[in-house]
Every structure is written in C-alpha cells, then in structure tokens.
C-alpha cells in the first residue's frame, strides 16, 4: 500500500480541554429568562448602563448591579462579520453572518446570527428582531433564539448606536 510507504510528514495532535462552566447568579437569571422568551439585563446604579447579559457588577464602576430590567428582543446591528472560512465542527453553512446587536434598552451588544437575508445585505444600523424557537424547544441558552432577522424598519441613525461600536 502506497499509504504505508510514504514518509511521515504530518501527525494528528488533538487537544481536548474539559471544563465545567458555572454561569454565576446574574447570568443564570438571564439564561432562565431566555428559556421563557425574555431578555433580562441589569442596570448599573451609578452610570445607568444596562448590561445584557448581566454579570452581576458594572465593569466600569465596580459596583453591584442589583436592578433587573427587561429589554426588547429587537435591536440594531452595530458590527458584523461574514464568515466564509470553514472550521472544525462548524454548525452553520457558509457564508453566514455573525453580528453584534445592540438590543433596544441595552448598552452592550449581544452576539448572534443574522438570517433571512443575503449576507451582503447586512449592514451597520440595520434593524433586526429575534426569531425564537417554539417555547417547548427553549433551553437556558442563547440557542433558544434561532437567529435575528431584518425588521424592515428604516436604519437606525449612527448617533443612536455609535457609542457602542
């Protein structure tokens, strides 16, 4: 067999790291909200910024963020990436679009997929809405949102999201 007489030039060296991820209190509340079709953030008592998903404290002010606020499942694309490169264990067919979405009422972007439009149509300021899985298929994971799709509304003014780019 030719295969066994060729000199060795490559070897497989797979690496596997098995972690146990603990979401923490704030993110656990957020993920349980997602399971119910709600997006729960937390507002900083000092700078008033709303974090979605929350981490329990404001990274800028260094204070606990106890106030819970619900934000909309519509928002604005701030930045995005058209993925054209195949990689190991890829779940999506390429090309697909991964975007940072500033949800209405939030002060930090959420990363998710944009679908139901050609990838070349995705742009900064595009208005999008969440497409949820049916309630019985939802889990405490952002996979409960299948993707975001354009709402068809006019683009948001750059001033409304420029500070978050």
């Amino acid at each position: 067999m030719a295969e066994t007489t060729e000199p060795v030039t490559m070897i497989d060296t797979p690496i596997e790291l098995r972690y146990r991820f603990t979401a923490g209190l704030a993110q656990s509340r957020f993920l349980r909200g997602v399971e119910q079709g709600r997006l729960l953030g937390q507002r900083c008592p000092q700078c008033k910024k709303v974090y979605v998903s929350p981490r329990g404290a404001c990274a800028a002010c260094g204070v606990p963020t106890d106030e819970e606020v619900e934000v909309s499942d519509t928002g604005t694309v701030t930045t995005f990436c058209v993925v054209n490169v195949p990689f190991y264990d890829q779940k999506m067919e390429i090309p697909y679009v991964s975007a940072t979405i500033l949800l209405d009422g939030a002060d930090i972007g959420l990363m998710h997929l944009i679908q139901e439009c050609p990838s070349e149509d995705v742009h900064m300021g595009m208005r999008v809405e969440a497409v949820w899985k049916p309630p019985e298929e939802r889990t405490p994971s952002l996979e409960s949102i299948k993707y975001f799709r354009p709402t068809g509304e006019p683009d948001a003014d750059y001033e409304s999201y420029g500070a978050h780019v």
Partner: protein
Amino acid sequence: MADPDVLEAPNILEYPYTRSTGLVIGRFFTSLRDGRIEGIRGTDGRVHCPPNEYDPVTGESLGDDAFVDVGPGGEVTTWAWVHRPHEKHPLDRPFAWALIRLDGADTAMVHVVDAGDEARMTTGLRVQPRWRHERVGDIHDIEAFVPEDA
C-alpha cells in the same frame, strides 16, 4: 457547594491540530512505523534520540547521513510513578513516565514504562519496547517500554 440558582454545564474545547513533523522527526516516525528506532549523530560523535534537527554544538543541520539505529532496548535514567492514570494517559493502569536512554544513544527519551508495580522501577532498569499492533508513524507506535526480565 452547588447553588441551585446557579446554572452549570460542561464546556469542552477541542483543538484538532495537525502538525508538520519536519524532515528529521518525520523520518524518526517513519522508522517507528517500520518497527525501528533511530537516533542522529552530532558532530561531536554523540547520538541523540529522539533525533535533533540541528547539531547542539555547532548549530548545523543534521541530515539523512547522520541517522543511526539505536535500541531497541535501553535503560531508565529517571522516572516518576503515576498512581492514578487519567483518561488521556496512554495506559489505564498505574505506570511510570521515564527517561529512557536507548542502547547506542547518549541522550534519553521520555516514554512510558508499563512495569505493573512501582517496586519494579529503579534507575538503571533495563527495558524493551512493546510495539503497537498497527503502527501508523507516531510516538505511540511504541505502546510502552517493559522491563526486560518481565
């Protein structure tokens, strides 16, 4: 202690790397696939196993003409006993990681000694390779070294 309000989940990262071996280690692995162990002779006459791409004294490239057969037997120069192997370890029973200087080589190679019992391990222990059934051309073609008197 687990807080019932806090979610937990497994998070497994996998990197399925493929690495190029380079010419020297490529040849070393090719020889292992053939059931032979090769070292490489430096300009000072010392034999290195596993082989080096460059002479450690002069920094010159070491080529095909510098390869020499070593082993297959050798001697343990130092070792550490693994009492509880984990799932990524090469054996599912206690074993030793050891530096093994193969006959004809001047340097030692890290490998596994399947000694069965820590009491059998000594510095200077004579060992022989136990080859894998179907060799593919990597370091695991030697499953382990075993004591010569086993």
